[in-house]
Subunit: 129 residues, 2 copies
DNA sequence: CTGGACCTTCCAGTGCAGGGGAAGGTCAAG
DNA sequence: CTTGACCTTCCCCTGCACTGGAAGGTCCAG
């Protein structure tokens, strides 16, 4: 399979596939005599895995770690479990931050809704923020 | 006031202040004969406003819009109110996305926790993701 | 007059995940 | 033989908010 076909099958662009290669996530099986990249069927599964990882909010670096474990012949289950646990903690922290921010912004918005532009001095740009 | 003093008073760096100037958020009152930037006391209030806006998650571009309205001599209250409403909607959307993602990741993690590495074939890299 | 703290401009890089486009090689159909 | 689709490498650009550093000018105390 050449890069264009792999891109069509997986829904990625050829740009992305070359970028993944540069990032150490995807390795062509080889090259044709003319230098074209050649991929096997396993590349499709690999890209599917990358897509699932991205959908779970993992970074390419994290996904790469898992792929490296697999490429060393070991099952990455434990590694994936740890990764998901870490991701879960990060998500909870992010949610807490965002909820706090939402409360702050909601409060500001409530105050601004009942506000009167005429009472607004320029000395602090806007007193509703 | 020179840039270093303004930085010390507001807690910003001189780098940031010059960056804000390039971004159209902060304008020195003038320059000394030797080219040093000169700021008035209003610059402190302006930077406080920028800090509050940043704390509410507004982008510098959004903050700049408000400052531009103020610089045209109009009270930016209405604009700020709209901005906060927009920001609130964005936060709600972001929270919903993040909560959905958290549920997905939690599900994956639960499945991975009870998993057995030996039953994990290499054909999809890892079946727990 | 010298040293050090301060200031200036300009250029470049950070992290993340790619995208744009140029210049050129390859391959199959017509 | 030519056209057009495909491929190659190369380097730069995106958005966001800065940060780092080099090379040089200014100002004040000792």
């Amino acid at each position: 399979m050449r890069i264009g076909e792999l891109a069509a099958v997986t829904g990625a662009t050829t740009k992305t596939l070359r970028f993944y290669e540069d990032s150490g996530l995807l390795h062509p099986e080889g090259r044709t005599t003319s230098g074209y990249r050649q991929y096997g069927a396993d590349a499709v599964a690999r890209l599917d895995f990358i897509r699932r990882g991205r959908a779970a909010g993992l970074t390419l670096a994290q996904i790469r770690e898992v792929l490296d474990v697999r490429d060393q012949g070991r099952a990455p289950c434990r590694h994936v479990e740890d990764l998901l646990a870490t991701r879960l903690r990060a998500l909870d922290a992010q949610l807490a931050d965002l909820q706090e921010l939402r409360a702050t912004v909601a409060q500001l918005h409530d105050a601004a809704r009942g506000g009167d532009p005429d009472t607004c001095g320029a000395e602090q740009v806007c007193r509703y923020l």
